[in-house]
């Protein structure tokens, strides 16, 4: 069955082509039905591949087709099936099919319904293509394609100016990272003597044969790893390039669930995991990854504490959780980072879809206009609760297993600073997600007009919620001490990562209890402040006005970027424009004017007197003859 893996990305592509050809007038049921069925087949296929690959020997399988010859270098395209890739296929296709189903309810009645599905199919294809790439170049192509799909979908409601701006921002900010990835890729290509292939790169790295000019293997490895990581920072919205993700929430909510929570933003984490042998060879790069991850986890969690927009809270939560994954990868806990990616995909997609269900019901994203929706939206409420508990890391929900393992790994490696960063972030996480839960689902309505008519969506919206709630609750059990760390052993089969998983984490009961208690404390605090009717939050905000303002204004990072990068960029642009207008254009202008003036002067020689022409011609002939005689040196 693994021979059929090529069908997995091609089925959504077929869906895309079908919708492209059938046009805008395609009935909603057809557009959604075709997409769900095709992606559903992909999903089943990738599940089969995932389970069949289990006992396979290390290395997986690769199918390559020759594509390009550049000088002496050959570039292939194809499919590389490793255990990591198989896992990613399952995550992507499973979340995709549920989101595609959910979207039918959420986007119902939209004028460009079939276009929306067209983009989603293209995205699913690109993402699946990304995770099976056998070389960096193919990965980069798909990397840009998912970026393009993200741009199109964030700006799907382009007639809203905020959406158009957010789309541009997401594209441009990730572009900064992509440039890093591109440069890193070219460095590796040159350093290996002309290969984009992952295995070739890893071989060169481990044999210390990378070299380029004066740079030796170690220096080049570190530089390339940092540049590749810059790409991951952009895509996975890590500090300092995280600013695009909250703005991307202007897109339709299913898009946020699929692209900006479960799949595309995880591509950065996937990239680091895929290139893990490269990072392993460079301790400075690994440390950078860990610290960027840890700082991002805490920073985003602190910002999420005070946001008023339900989707923005979850967006910052996504940034924070991606930070955990980077942290895990950075401290060498390769399998744990991937494990957290796996569980996070489910519970974060769930939280977004549940938020989408709420927004669909009350038509606002402001937390303080909601309230008391638990009775009207019971399915949404309970599934949101499952997702929130998973995110908060409460036993036995999936997030507990993955997040706790990461913290334990940091503790056992002796990275105390990282451990505390993660733990404080975990406390904030539990607080902010239950703040959302209490504000939305419990208590009394704060805006009767909006909430009075709220009701659950049709089955296409509730079924994905229930499935995801089940997954968010249970997905953690693939990697528990009782199931013998199944996922870690599965990922160990990858030859590329075998060294990484060599030091398994020993669960320690006190640490587990401690982090659960921290999570419960966060929930308790959220209940005290928001679970009951009180003016405590307002008083607290007043008392802590400075920290509150910092968090509310996202650490003023957008403002800082505006006044440095944006204003600076505009300044440079103006300088270049002036240079172009006055210097470059000036030179050309002077040339043109000179010729013009010369023409003006010379026109007076055309006086109509044929004898004057004759004189000039005769004189010219004499000059020519004199020059010829002197030049050749001959005598008449």
């Amino acid at each position: 069955m693994t021979d059929w893996v090529w069908l997995v990305p091609l089925l959504p592509l077929a869906g895309y082509v079908f919708l492209l050809l059938s046009g805008r007038r395609t009935p909603e049921a057809v557009a959604a039905g075709v997409s769900v069925v095709l992606t559903g087949i992909s999903c089943v296929l990738s599940l089969v591949v995932f389970f069949q690959l289990g006992p396979e020997p290390a290395g997986g399988q690769t199918w390559l087709f020759h594509w390009l010859t550049i000088g002496s270098a050959h570039v292939d395209v194809g499919i590389s099936l490793t255990h990591l890739n198989a896992l990613m296929l399952v995550v992507v296709s499973l979340v995709s099919v549920l989101v595609l189903l959910f979207s039918q309810g959420y986007m119902h009645g939209d004028e460009r319904f079939s276009v929306f599905y067209q983009y989603l199919n293209l995205f699913v294809f690109s993402m699946l293509g990304l995770v099976i790439s056998p070389n960096l170049l193919q990965l980069y192509i798909f990397w840009e394609m998912v970026g393009l799909c993200s741009y199109l979908l964030v700006g799907f409601w382009y007639f809203k100016p905020e959406a158009a701006l957010a789309a541009k921002k997401s594209f441009i900010v990730t572009r900064i990272g992509d440039t890093g990835l591109f440069v890193g890729m070219i460095l590796l290509f040159l350093g290996t003597g002309g290969s984009f292939d992952f295995t070739a790169i890893f071989q060169a790295v481990s044999a210390h044969t990378l070299h380029l000019g004066w740079m030796g293997s170690q220096g080049l490895t570190t530089l390339a790893a940092l540049l590749v990581f810059l790409g991951a920072v952009g895509k996975s919205a890590q500090f300092p390039l995280h600013v695009w993700l909250p703005d991307a929430m202007e897109g339709p909510t299913p898009v946020s669930a699929l692209i900006h929570a479960a799949t595309m933003v995880a591509a950065g984490v996937y990239l680091v995991a895929r290139m893990f042998p490269l990072f392993q060879a460079s301790p400075p790069a690994l440390t950078t990854v860990a610290w960027i991850g840890g700082v991002t986890a805490l920073l985003a969690a602190l910002i999420a504490l005070t946001q008023r927009d339900i989707k923005r809270v979850i967006a910052y939560s996504t940034i924070s959780q991606l930070g955990y994954m980077m942290l895990a990868l950075g401290i060498g806990a390769y399998a744990l980072g991937v494990f957290h990616l796996f569980t996070h995909a489910f519970f974060k997609a769930l939280l977004f879809l549940a938020a989408g269900s709420v927004i669909h019901a009350v038509d606002t994203q402001d937390l303080f206009q909601m309230g008391g929706l638990g009775r009207k939206l019971p399915i949404t409420r309970w599934s949101f609760l499952a997702g929130a508990l998973a995110l908060a890391g409460i036993f036995p929900f999936s997030g507990f297993w993955s997040k706790d393992d990461i913290l334990t790994a940091a503790w056992q490696r002796g990275d105390m600073a990282l451990y505390w960063l993660g733990l404080v972030a975990a406390f904030c996480t539990a607080f902010y997600i239950f703040r959302v839960y209490f504000l939305v689902f419990t208590g009394q309505s704060r805006d009767e007009e909006r909430t009075v008519g709220a009701h659950e969506g049709s089955w296409v919206m509730t079924v994905p919620l229930v499935i995801l709630a089940a997954l968010a609750t249970l997905a953690g059990f693939v990697n528990t001490p009782w199931t013998g760390h199944g996922l870690e052993r599965y990922l160990e089969h990858d030859a590329t990562a075998s060294a990484a998983a060599a030091t398994p984490v020993q669960e320690s009961l006190p640490l587990m209890v401690f982090s659960v208690v921290v999570g419960l404390l966060g929930i308790g605090l959220a209940y005290l402040l928001y679970g009951r009717k009180s003016d405590a939050p307002a008083r607290l905000a007043e008392k802590l006005s400075i920290p509150y303002a910092i968090s509310l204004h996202k650490f003023y990072l957008d403002e800082v970027y505006y006044h440095t990068v944006v204003v600076g960029g505009k300044l440079v642009a103006r300088l270049v424009r002036a240079l172009d207008r006055y210097l470059i254009d000036g030179i050309i202008e002077v040339g043109a004017r000179l010729v013009g003036v010369l023409g003006l002067a010379l026109k007076y020689t055309q006086n109509g007197q044929v004898q004057a022409y004759g004189v000039i011609a005769a004189f010219g002939l004499v000059v020519v003859i004199v020059v010829a005689v002197l030049g050749v040196g001959g005598v008449l």
Binding site: N607, G608, Q609
Partner: protein
């Protein structure tokens, strides 16, 4: 020298031709009357004829080719002067003048 014709040095002949040519050129460029310009052109053509005849005696294989060519030039010059005079006549009818400086409409 058993040549019955008095031998004139080549340099003198070429000098004569050059002087004749320059007089013709000077006339063609300075004379105000169109008829005089045409006559000056004839002078220049005849200077060329003298050159052709002079050079025909020189070379590895002296022949009559140059002299034949000179005859051709004379013939063609006759035709040319006919056309030239016709043009001058037409110009005179148009402008009531045979002055060169009056034919100056083709200017900027």
């Amino acid at each position: 020298m058993d040549n019955p014709v008095v031998s004139v040095p080549t340099g003198s002949l070429l000098g004569l031709a050059a002087i004749l040519f320059c007089i013709g050129l000077y006339g063609a460029l300075t004379k105000r009357n169109l008829i005089m310009v045409l006559i000056s052109l004839e002078l220049m053509l005849n200077a060329v004829n003298i050159n052709l005849v002079t050079f025909s005696r020189l070379g590895v294989a002296p022949s009559l080719d140059g002299q034949v060519f000179a005859l051709f030039v004379i013939t063609v010059a006759a035709a040319e002067i006919a056309v030239g005079l016709a043009l001058v006549l037409a110009a005179f009818r148009l402008r009531k003048s045979t002055e060169v400086k009056d034919l100056n409409t083709e200017k900027y």
